[in-house]
Symmetry: C6
Subunit: 266 residues, 6 copies
């Protein structure tokens, strides 16, 4: 399995569980049931799947889906070589053959052919037909499909088909509790507890503004960014502007509301 | 016929008939009449065609159709080899030449050229012109076309043309009766009869919510998923959330309605 | 003309004329006038052109048009060979060079470049410029273009251009008379006269439902399918459901109306 | 100039002038002024340009434009050969180099890149830059661009740009006078004067129906088609149906109106 | 610089200045400031840039932009050769390397990637990154970008981005004064002063009709076309019809208005 | 790191800081935090990033994004060589491997696949999966992503996704203060202080017209252009017309308003 060594996670990725997601994922993996991770951006879904891959000792093949991705990008294609055309496995096929966890990040962004390609891998057939080379790959016993899905983004035009959704066990994610989030910020940004607590309070206030013109509030990732700037000597108010206000809105009223939320927590 | 060995089904796929679908399929196959399987997702159409292929001793070439699939993906194409371009049969052509059952899953998802390609195979001509290589392949005596079609999905924009529909004999599928579904869940998920009966009752309740904001109720496949989690020690209510609620809706009202349906059956 | 041997029709295709279509086609062919066959699906246009090709002793090159077909699919393209790029005639060019009848089925489905490609072949020039290889092919003296056209399908968006239509002599087709249709069903399905008469009566009733939610009634082809199932022992009512009701509608009212029409004829 | 021999018109194409179009074309050609032929379908624009090419002793390269045609289809492209990529002149470049008349039929159908490609050939520069091979081809002294344009077809979406239109001298075409048209039908269809006169009368009546649901009336080409069928023994009323009614309309009222027009002239 | 010899202008292109455009262009070129030429079609923008290239002794690489042009068409691409893929400079890269004036005619017609490609060439960086070959070409000291832009054509959908516009010094062009235009027509069409004066008067009248259904009036180019026909013996009224009326409108009222304008000037 | 030598900035790019942007950028770079530069066109964002790259001693790989750019344009692709297909790093991959700053200019113009490609590089993973060659590139310790973003341009259709925005620390840019801008114009255009002050006053007036029909006012870049023309002897009023009026509007009222603003400042 040397070809997948690049995809092995050798150090434990820091992950603080929010609920029973680790146990449920393990139960699903035991049946190799496909898993869907649902939740807002920057709340830790990618980190979670990395953690589980490490915990289960499986290589992790991550694919960031986008609307120009084709089935061939996942499955593979023929490339021209000095001796003619040679088949080249795509990342999904690689994971199928070698028994990795294949994580399709934001799968609804992909075109339908991507989604359909996993159908025969997510029912009891567990096969991947490579139609272009008339090969049917039977999945390695350790192979599992994991997808992420942000409910806040879905529109009528871009959603998973019913026939796709119902193949998955789904775990719902949300931002961590203040205590957990404080711990994460301390650890990831290298700031002291008090500063981390301040940043978490600011995040909570900003999340309350969601719906009042803000698509989403500050994510855990943005808190960490603010903390990193603080740790480099940037004053906390300026750090919050750079990491949590300027990136997400240009509306003067919203900027003022966010700045007020920051000032109120200092 | 070694090339099709990968497509042979060697063990009997478990299938519990709901009505006379086995007899009708056999009658259609006797005339090599093209068959359309109609019904909701996850009710067993794919399993049925696998069962019939096994029963009739025919290899089964399955193609999951999608909107980026081209006629060439079905029929074949020239690939560049060390000695120049070499024709490469697609899955349909393979099935036509070697006498397999070719199952085009969710054919309405495909572009029209896919659909049109099967026209000359689904009337008395039974030929497949490979226009790119000026070859006309006469279908093997055992070849048959089977397509699936989910009536609930069709929109005005995406439907089969009249001239395609009328070439097929059609079998209507629905979810199995409670008794049959219980048996399926017991067998596939490895749970006891009582647990299976509970899950089937939950599914029935969820199917009654269809139309009240739910595109489709819980499929048999979702019941099996819930059962698999239960068999791994997940409490039944949590297993139903993971397998039957979270994957299909993010609407708080619907989630509550589904949770109520689950609680009422426990 | 060995290359066209695959396209020769060696046995007389069964065709029961409805009017003077055979004489008119022969008169058109005598001047090599392009011919347009108009009429609903499944009424026998394809069979007619096969019959005429056999009767006139001409090979028949049939192309099922679709919206992803390009001019190159018809005319030909360069393919890469061990010695470089080699021109490869498409089916139209083949027919033009060798003197076949080229039948473009449902030509309005094709993109405009397909349609325009036949312009210089359907006026007195009778040439096909292969622009990609700077060759002008003069049509073989026996070459003729035939197209089919289903008036019921045409929308404003998809219609032949005036400058295309007026190049053709056109023959209008309809479903055959009851007597003729009975004979066809007997012959093609292998059922007795009485059964065939019953099926034809059912078809007539279903055709009267056209416009009341049904795009088209049962075609002759569907009658034959029903007959084939009956010949295999399927009860006639069930056979009609499989061949004439389930394939064309999912509307409960229409299904009931059709079922009523069937019951009334038994 | 052997490469253009295939494009030489060796026999005089029959053309009966309607006005001073021959003299005006000759005056335009004397300055190599680009010429636009305007008029309805089937009135003889293509025949006219063939006649002029013959009269001026120039080869004629005709390109039927369509919406999938690219600039490369006109100008040329690199093709892969045994010794690497080799440039291959397109039909326009061929005409530019060798001094042919290049006739772009229905140019508005083409994408804009086609139109723009001729700009540097239709002002005093008379050059064709082959950007892909960094060559600037100076037009042969005898080269001329001719385009056709059917005013009845143009929509807001598909029209020539002002900067294209104003480069051309334009000749307006219409259907010929009855006397001229009679002569054409006699000659082309091989029918007697009386029959030709009858057909011309029918055409005039049908042209009066234009605007009452008919896009265009019967063209000269359609009269010739009717005449050809008559010459093969088809009764005149049936021949008119096949050549002048059925091809252009499926509307029962219009068909009746046209049939009435035919009956009135017999 | 032999590769650019084909792009050198060896004879002085006739150009009659309308205002201070020559001096302003020279001042802009002295700083290698990018220049935008604004004005209606056929007023002499292309001729002006040819004149300036000749006057400044620079080769001129002209590219007629269109909506199917890609960045690769400008910048270059890899082509397959006997020894593998070989980079091939596009016209822009050629001009950048060798110090030509690169004239992008009607740049708004191009896709955005064309426009963006010139950004790093039109600020103080003066570099062209060839991303596909990881080369950064520093512009030759003599290189300059010139674009043309017809304000009358721009729609909301198709306009230059602010960030493009503000990189250019812009010169506004209009039709020349009657005296200048008369001189141009005499010289280019070879007609006498009086005839030229008549044609210029007609043009002025036609330009007054602009806005009353006419997109633009007669351009200088059209006057020259009319003059050329007159010089070949075509009567002036007929010549004006061919060169100035029929090409630009099919509206009977407008044709009459234009014909009246012509008659009034004779 | 020889391959990146072409991307090194060897001379200090002139940059006059407006606020604390240099310190904030340095703090962000210390954590390799991705940075977003926000602000109107021509205010100095590109110059700033060049300055920072020089200051930090990092090569700078700049990519001007546009809507036809694909992920492969950024990441790389296989090219055919004499010995078969050879992988060719794109500019992003090059920067990732070698530790450059990768500046994606106007990233919202790009298709989503471009944006998604940077996700795994802009969280703590700092990896770039090259799916087409099954390689996972770990970013060089010095690598950083910088993007620019013009808030005035964004529409609903074209905006960064929340999940992208929140990965960045953002710095807001505006036009410099009059004193700073005067200094910039003096230095870049080579004009005296008084002339520079005049031009800056004109710019301020024009910026006040923003919103009254003007998308943006005169940028610093346009002032420099006007100054350059003045330095070449063009009268200041004419220079302002060429550099600041004609390029940005064709509306007579706006032109008059702008001309008034110029006249008022002289």
């Amino acid at each position: 399995m040397t070809i997948l060594d690049a995809y092995r996670i050798t150090r434990e990725p820091f992950y603080r569980p929010v609920g029973r997601e680790i146990e449920l994922f393990e139960a699903a993996y035991a049946s190799r049931m496909p898993v869907m991770l649902k939740g807002p951006t920057g709340c830790g879904k990618t980190r979670f799947v990395e953690h589980m891959a490490w915990r289960l000792g499986r290589p992790l093949v991550t694919v960031s889906c986008h609307e120009d991705m084709t089935a061939s990008d996942l499955v593979g294609r023929f490339l021209l070589d000095a001796e003619g055309t040679v088949w080249h496995d795509g990342p999904l096929t690689l994971a199928v053959r070698e028994g990795a966890i294949c994580y399709l990040d934001e799968i609804v962004e992909a075109r339908q052919d991507t989604t359909v390609v996993i159908h025969s891998l997510t029912d009891d057939r567990r096969i991947l037909p490579l139609e272009k080379k008339n090969e049917v790959v039977t999945a390695h016993a350790d192979f599992q499909v994991v997808i992420s899905y942000n409910p806040g983004y879905q529109s009528v035009l871009k959603d998973l088909k019913e026939s796709t959704k119902q193949r998955f066990g789904a775990l719902a994610f949300a931002y961590p509790s203040p205590a957990v989030e404080t711990e994460i910020v301390m650890r990831e940004a290298g700031v002291e507890r008090r500063m981390a607590e301040t940043l978490v309070r600011i995040a909570e206030r900003s999340r309350n503004l969601k719906g009042h013109g803000l698509e989403e509030g500050a994510s855990t990732r943005m808190l960490v960014n603010a903390g990193l700037l603080v740790a480099r000597g940037v004053p906390v108010e300026e750090a919050c502007q750079v990491a949590m206000v300027v990136p997400i809105t240009d509306d003067p009223d919203l900027r003022e509301a966010l700045s007020g939320a920051i000032a109120a927590c200092l």
